[in-house]
């Protein structure tokens, strides 16, 4: 946090994680905590990328498998598999969800002005959920718009997605 702001633009902290060898980042302010992977209670009649629900200190929290959500190849959990618990404004309240990723990576300070718009990507990661791309030490980091992901990619579209996942 010692970085000196020479420009007027804001700098945000991002937590990055690995998913299928790509590095993704989410605004650290939306991250509530990290949890080791655990078996969730599956829920019937939900999209397959909803892994189920867990008990987070008495609160029922749905768990999203991000690999499946992005249409990536599924993988058995391993010791680095982590659930990132995020807190997201949704309508007039806050929702808490867990996102399963392969591993957490780093925390970076990223200047908003350094973000590049996401090119249309082939593959399942909808461009809608990408806030922008950042380059850090020659590496590309895909910054996700976690609010959008949760509100549009997880909650509202359930019926459509379900149809998709069934037909896929």
């Amino acid at each position: 946090m010692e970085a000196i702001n020479t420009t007027q633009t804001t700098e945000n902290q991002y937590l990055t994680f690995i998913l299928d060898e790509e590095e993704f980042g989410v605004d650290i302010l939306s991250v509530q905590e990290l949890r080791g992977w655990e078996n969730a209670t599956p829920m019937p009649n939900t999209p397959d990328w909803i892994q189920g629900v867990i008990n987070l200190r008495g609160v029922i929290v749905p768990i999203v498998c991000l690999r499946k959500r992005f249409g990536l190849e599924d993988r058995e959990p391993c010791p680095t598999t982590v659930m990132i618990i995020v807190k997201v404004a949704s309508g007039d309240k806050e929702r808490v969800l867990g996102i399963v990723v392969d591993a957490v990576s780093e925390v970076y300070n990223i200047n908003e002005s350094d973000l590049q718009p996401a090119p249309s990507m082939d593959g399942a990661i909808s461009i809608d959920f990408v806030k922008g791309l950042a380059t850090i030490d020659e590496k590309m980091v895909i910054l996700l718009d976690i609010n959008k992901l949760v509100n549009e990619g997880v909650l509202a579209k359930t019926d459509n997605e379900k149809a998709e996942s069934v037909s896929a």
């Binding site: 629900v53 008990n55 200190r57």
Partner: protein, 684 residues
């Protein structure tokens, strides 16, 4: 010594409101023609308790008021007075006044006695045969306090002869203690008379034989003992002794001690009242919750466990090395479980029976029924159904509105009912029950019902619907128009409901709680409004069962029985539908495992376990793998962080910390396609 009474006042207020409630419901019972002596006794006792307490805590006007009520109730209790409607009404009004008076005290304000005084004189008038005014009986109480002054000259002291009867000891009184008390009042000289004492062998140690002649004079302070004080010492044994009291007189003017004393008393009371006012500011009426002791006990147990875990962990921390890692982990797991259970137990305390919300209605229905000139019977079902306290508080206003709505618009006046061939007395029924993880509160009546034509007419007039489309609308759609803003069937409004609040507000309130309200009606037969509230937390008696390795919860209340399937009783209807012969009826079998997509396997029915549930008056068999225990579970909504899941009404956390889903039968049947199934119709 000084004891601060303040801390007991809060308790007294709470008890008083319970007592007032008891009086109110008792009076209402009497007003409906009840003659049960127990009821009268309960009312009397409640009034009496309030009187005693309010006198003790210095609320003299409340005490005075209850005193008059009590007198009347006492006459009723002893059969000297009939429970006439007029008296009941005045007593009911008195309950209101008492409530207001106590409320003022609680707020630290002086109650407005005006209404109380008017009512009090009415009560007195009834008591005195409806003729005289209050003055006569009121002065009586004051007169009692002035007692005979010693006549003639000044009193120097007393000669006292005290002869206990033999049985005086039997009541726990002790002459020695009385004499000791006399000694406190002044300088006592005494002479014991043992002439009645029998010989040792004839003596019964349980009897009193001794007598005393005493002289009591002024003590060190120079004050001559007061006659009242002396008599007070013997007050309890008046009938168990012979007592003579003679003043020793001398010609000297004595100071008016009584007046002195009174002044002192006044001062004392004055200062106490001052202290009261000071302390009042800090005791704001705190919101309180009444919790059954068994829930407190359960919580206490949990706290006990927590303490054990804590001491185990701190012991472990004293000299920790890596070999104890396992134990540390166990300890932490235990700690986590303890805190979770404690949290749940705390949440359970917030659950209150819906009767808390229903309780106000008997009175309200009684009063409004009278005003409207309608005969209304209030029926309440399922008052024990529990719901979260905060949800209940928000349910209050919509409930009141809908009940008034039923009374105003639903129920007809008696003549109209008779003309329609109905019982002149109509009913308003409040019914609460759990259904699929929701709480449903129904407000129904057997009144005139809703008129589809009238509502549609209005809707067409307002341009809500075209005449052509209107024909296609279902009754339900039409009736639900009532909840739209600005839609009121104004011609039916009575003076009581012209309060500017419409059903649209009711709907908004309920929807803001995440609930919904529906109406069903049959013209001429009545209407029924049902409020359905999904519960973020509610307690459910659950039956745990296993399905494809996963544990689910079924509401225990919907289970009729469970049985082992016998192959020969299984029948097939059509291609997939299976039915089971249960005694003399066929019930459809459904397989939750495949509906809830936990398993694709089509298990053989033979020898399987069938749980027979009742839903919507129909019986259905659910095929399950294994039945586990029954337990109370706290329902948690899936919608807090996710959204509604078909056939699942919520989740709960089991003892091992795992999440288990609660089955919503209505949703399950819907998914199973049973609703349209021929078999279901056969079974129904």
């Amino acid at each position: 010594m000084s004891v601060d009474l303040e801390q007991f006042k809060e308790m007294f207020y709470e008890e008083s409101s319970e007592n007032l409630e008891a009086m109110e419901s008792g009076l209402l019972e009497l007003s409906e023609g009840g003659t049960d002596l127990d009821v009268v006794n309960t009312i009397f006792r409640s009034a009496h308790s309030i009187k005693g307490g309010s006198a003790t805590f210095g609320f003299t006007s409340v005490a005075g008021f209850t005193h008059v009520m009590e007198g009347l109730l006492d006459e009723m209790r002893e059969g000297k007075r009939e429970a006439e409607a007029k008296i009941i009404d005045i007593l009911l009004e008195s309950v209101d006044v008492l409530r207001a008076m106590l409320g003022s005290h609680q707020e630290g304000e002086e109650p407005d006695d005006e209404r109380a005084n008017i009512l009090k004189s009415q009560l007195v008038a009834i008591r005195d045969g409806g003729v005289s005014s209050s003055s006569g009986s009121e002065s009586q109480a004051q007169a009692a306090d002035s007692s005979s002054e010693v006549s003639g000259g000044t009193c120097q002291g007393w000669n006292i002869q005290f002869s206990p009867h033999e049985d005086l000891l039997q009541t726990g009184n002790d002459p020695a203690l009385m004499i000791r008390e006399l000694g406190v009042l002044g300088t006592l000289s005494l002479e014991m008379d043992d002439s009645r004492l029998p010989s040792l062998d004839a003596m019964d140690p349980e009897l009193a034989y001794l007598q005393w002649n005493m002289t009591l004079k002024s003590g060190e302070d120079g004050n001559v003992p007061n006659q009242d004080a002396i008599e007070e010492i013997f007050e309890w044994v008046e009938d168990e002794c012979d007592l003579t009291l003679e003043a020793i007189e001398e010609k000297r003017k004595s100071p008016d001690r009584r007046a002195d004393e009174r002044r002192q008393n006044d001062r004392r009371q004055g200062s106490r009242r001052g202290g009261e006012a000071g302390a009042k500011k800090t005791t704001q009426a705190a919101a309180s919750i009444r919790v059954g002791t068994e829930r407190i006990d359960a919580m206490m147990d949990l706290v006990g466990e927590l303490v054990i875990t804590q001491s185990m962990l701190s012991q472990l921390g004293e000299d920790f090395d890596m070999s104890q890692m396992e134990r540390l982990r166990d300890g932490l797991t235990q700690l986590e479980r303890n805190s979770r259970e404690l949290q749940e137990s705390m949440m359970r305390m917030r659950m209150q029976p819906v009767s808390f919300a229903f309780n106000r209605f008997p009175r309200m229905v009684h009063d409004i029924g009278q005003k409207l000139g309608k005969q209304i019977r209030l029926e309440m079902v399922g008052e024990d159904t529990e719901m979260d306290k905060t949800v209940m508080e928000k349910l209050n206003d919509p409930l009141v509105h809908l009940v008034r709505n039923s009374m105003d618009h639903g129920l007809e006046p008696p003549e109209e009912r008779i003309d329609a061939g109905k019982d002149p007395e109509g009913y308003v029924r409040l019914r609460a029950f759990h259904q699929g993880g929701s709480i449903v509160v129904e407000i129904s009546d057997d009144g005139r019902g809703l008129s589809r034509e009238k509502i549609l007419g209005k809707a067409i007039e307002k341009g809500v619907v075209t005449e052509k489309d209107a024909e296609l609308w279902s009754d339900e759609q039409v009736f639900n128009l009532l909840f739209d803003a600005g839609f009121s069937t104004a011609e039916k409004l009575s003076d009581l409901s012209g309060r500017g609040v419409g059903l649209d507000v009711v709907r908004r309130n309920i929807e803001s709680l995440g609930g919904r309200v529906d109406v069903a009606s049959k013209f001429g037969e009545g209407s029924s409004f049902s409020i359905r509230l999904p519960l973020t937390l509610a307690v459910l008696d659950g039956q745990l069962f296993r399905l494809a390795g996963q544990t689910f919860v079924l509401p225990l209340v919907s289970i009729i029985e469970s049985l082992q399937i016998r192959k020969e009783l299984v029948g097939g209807v059509g291609s997939n539908a299976e039915v089971y012969r249960l005694r003399d009826q066929y019930i459809p079998i459904i397989r939750p495992a495949s509906i809830l997509d936990c398993s694709d396997k089509h298990e053989s029915l033979d020898g399987g376990l069938l749980v027979v549930v009742e839903w919507d008056n129909r019986h259905v068999g659910l095929l399950v793998d294994e039945l586990l225990g029954q337990q109370q579970v706290v329902i948690k909504s899936l919608e807090t962080n996710y959204q509604k899941v078909p056939a699942i009404s919520g989740a709960t956390i089991l003892g091992d910390g795992k999440v288990s889903l609660i089955i919503d039968l209505a949703g399950l049947f819907e998914l199973s396609g049973l609703m349209n199934d021929r078999a279901f119709r056969i079974a129904a």
